[in-house]
Amino acid sequence: MAGRSLTWLGVTTLALLAILIGGILLSNASWAPKLALDLEGGTQIILKPNIEDGSQATQEQLNQAVSIIRQRVDASGVSEAEVNTEGNNVVVSIPGEADEETRKRIEASAKLEFRPVLVAGQPSNTFVGEDGEETPYPTPDPALPSTPTAKPTDASDLSQVTPALQAAFQAFDCGQPIEAGVVQPADGPIIACEADGSVKYILGPVEVEGSQITDATNGMRTTQSGATTGEWAVNLRFNSEGTQEFADVTSRLNGLQSPQNQFAIVLDNQVISAPQTLAVIADGRPEISGNFTQESSKTLADQLKYGALPISFTVQSSDQISATLGSSQLQIGILAGIIGLVLVAIYTLFQYRLLGLVTLASLVVAGVLTYLVIAILSWRNGYRLSLAGVAGLIVAIGFTADSFIVYFERIRDELRDGRGLESAVEAGWRRAKRTIYASKGVNVLAALVLYVLAVGNVKGFAFTLGVTTVIDVIVVLLFTHPMLQLLARTRFFSSGHPLSGLDPNALGAVYRGRAQFRAPTEVSRGKAAKSSREATKRQTIAERKQAELIATGGTKSQEKDS
């Protein structure tokens, strides 16, 4: 049993090490975990709101934008970014370098609309005239009628395509699409282009809005038989209102001719796709496909999930920034941690004698595992160690050591009850295990809930807490307990050597019912001898009282250690 647990621990450790080494050799992992903004610095991106005619973004709009951008950045991993306003701009500080994808993720407004297609055509704004030359369509004559001749019956009604709109459509150049921040009429038709400029559309009014989305995820598209097509898509989930709207629209479009049966998905004034409606979507879970990669589909899903920004932004500047705390603080933290560990070592050795070595060895094992996991997570999941995280790891020493302390104290309790060492280790483990699971469960719960719900620094904290707690349980299960099982078989410990920390005499072991008898005879310390004699005496009284109770009509008494 003990051997198997230790083997498992060894296998786990080696596997983690192999993953890390593999990551270093084949990818961009490194031995040192990445550091957060406060310790390493990063990139500061200043975003300027796109607002025309000199007006200013309101404070409310800015605050809302800060909140949404923070969620978007957080969704890319545990990065502990900082987002705040500065004057009328929004400042995003992220650790490390900001790549193109990150910038897009931050600045895009991500205003999503679903509009029915009225007219689809070539993207060019030129035609080949009678002279055989390519000439641009003229700028629309403002005198052309721009109100429909008949009131449109529904959003797909072609009467909305007035001569003025038709002329504007022809003259529209997809090489100069409408910018993201421009507000287009929601209740009337608009002109828009496919994102890659391949098709030009006239679209009907907005039928379903992105604000009705409750969740968005990315994933591979699957065929009806469940096989994946290898194409990335964003899966949406609508609230009940959006679901109803979606069902109504798709059932109407389903019966129309092409291109009017197409339902355009418009993101920031560009059509990302305009699929034909082949079936009524009644479950409120449409899928958006387009030319997505895994990354871009994840970005869009995150953007849609947290909602559109009230205003769009452009990156005004993007600069390297230094750490706010500087490397000296990290060194102080590490130094203080080491000193603390030495103090803990001295204290546990005093308290538990050689058993304290098991505590220290367990802490070392936990330390190695924590380091490996953090190094791997910082490579794979963007985990970054902040100073608060370092402090959290140092506090984890206390949490972790407590598992051993609870366990050792239970073993001692069993020894006090007069058990032999091997059986005390097992009995103590059975009791300690429950306590350890229950109490660590509380910590894992805290970590999970805060990780899912909180943002920013709190998320990072929850992550550290969760990782250290899980490692703590693994170590006590696969290392500390098996080590004690093995040690209990050695003469040094089983004979209860005074230095073992498990000396039954010093622990005042006493005769208890049918359990093995260990006489509290010669004890090195007078105090201990006195206490165990007294304990024996007391027990006699207790037993006498039990006998009395039985005499007064109770049933058979229970043995405490049975």
Partner: protein
């Protein structure tokens, strides 16, 4: 230290016992006094001292500078507004950004002067602006939502695990006690409440519940093993459990507090590292208070909550009756 082992032996057998439960009036009075004191401190001091991450503040950008020495900026700000905590960052190659709490117009002008002198540039090279909170209302709201849901779930899970909601209730009250006292001491210290300190408080909430669960599990063990013929009243069983886990409680809090204490001492008094100081103070105080609160508040409170249940009351009465008739008026743990 060997004496702690002996002490542990005596506590385990019941030879020596501290009356955490029976003397609860004393302990509760102490706890209430501590809580009142902890509530009074911030009131007297006029609220908590929140850092600019929560409130927003002033930002100075000095550009261009010849050398981006962060200490120069820190000293310059400290020279004008000694109580302000300045966060200094170099941006790009040639500019320095200084963020502080919201300053008055006069202070802003003075700091601008001081920074210009320190970096040997014209005051026109120093621009000022107002920065919003990076830890805004929305972050606080999300964190609080998470916390409330966590506490509700913890309450439920503990109630299921221990098969009584009274343990959950006692644990939550003890938790509140820890939080209030830790905040009180923190306020007394005059340190700013920074995001790091908040992380410290969250850790303490986790630690406090954790510590209570460990002790309560021993109480559960003892009280559920008390059959019909137990010689201990319910309150005595609870008290015995607390005594039996006392050595563990002491050892654990010492082991947890030692590294934190070393960060606090080195971080604050020796080298003046602010983030370390904030987080380690809240942790150090919190660990000690959490251990205290489990023993002196949670356990006696639990005994109080349950002692009037008809079954427990009946059994306690029977045990006391039997004890009176016995020859020795013993067993009741004294000291």
């Amino acid at each position: 230290m060997a004496s702690l082992t002996t002490f542990g032996n005596d506590l385990y057998t019941g030879k020596r016992s501290i009356n955490f439960v029976a003397n609860r009036r004393v302990w509760f009075s102490v706890a209430i006094a501590l809580v009142l004191f902890s509530i009074l401190v911030p009131i007297v001091k006029g609220g908590f001292n929140l850092s600019f991450e929560f409130t927003g503040g002033s930002q100075f950008t000095i550009s261009p500078v010849a050398s981006a020495d962060q200490d120069k900026a820190t000293d310059a700000v400290a020279g004008v507004v000694p109580e302000a905590v300045a966060k200094v960052t170099t941006v790009g190659n040639d500019s320095v950004r200084v963020q502080t709490n919201q300053l008055t117009n006069a202070e802003t002008d003075d700091v601008t002067e001081a920074l210009a002198t320190a970096f040997d540039v014209d005051t026109s090279a120093v621009t000022t602006s107002f920065i919003g909170a990076s830890w805004g209302q929305d972050v606080t709201r999300q964190a609080l939502t998470g916390l409330v849901i966590f506490l509700a779930l913890a309450f439920l899970i503990m109630a299921l695990y221990f098969r009584t909601w009274k343990m959950s209730a006692a644990a939550m009250i003890a938790l509140l006690d820890v939080l209030i006292i830790t905040l009180g001491v923190y306020s007394l210290s005059g340190f700013e409440i920074s995001p790091a300190a908040i992380i410290g408080f969250l850790t303490i909430l986790g630690y406090s519940l954790y510590d209570t669960v460990v002790v309560f599990d021993k109480i559960r063990e003892n009280t559920s093993e008390d059959g019909e013929n137990s010689t201990r009243t319910f309150a005595e069983s609870v008290n015995l459990a607390v005594n039996q886990t006392l050595v563990r409680s002491i050892n654990t809090s010492v082991v947890a507090a030692l590294p934190v204490a070393s960060i606090l001492l080195i971080g604050d008094f020796v080298l003046g590292a602010e983030t370390l100081r904030d987080i380690s103070l809240s942790l150090f105080v919190g660990i000690l208070v959490a251990t205290y609160s489990t023993i002196f508040v949670a356990a006696p409170l639990y005994a109080l909550f349950r002692q009037n249940e008809p079954e427990i009351r009946k059994r306690d009465a029977r045990i006391l009756e039997a004890r009176k008739r016995s020859v020795e008026p013993d067993i009741a743990p004294a000291i």
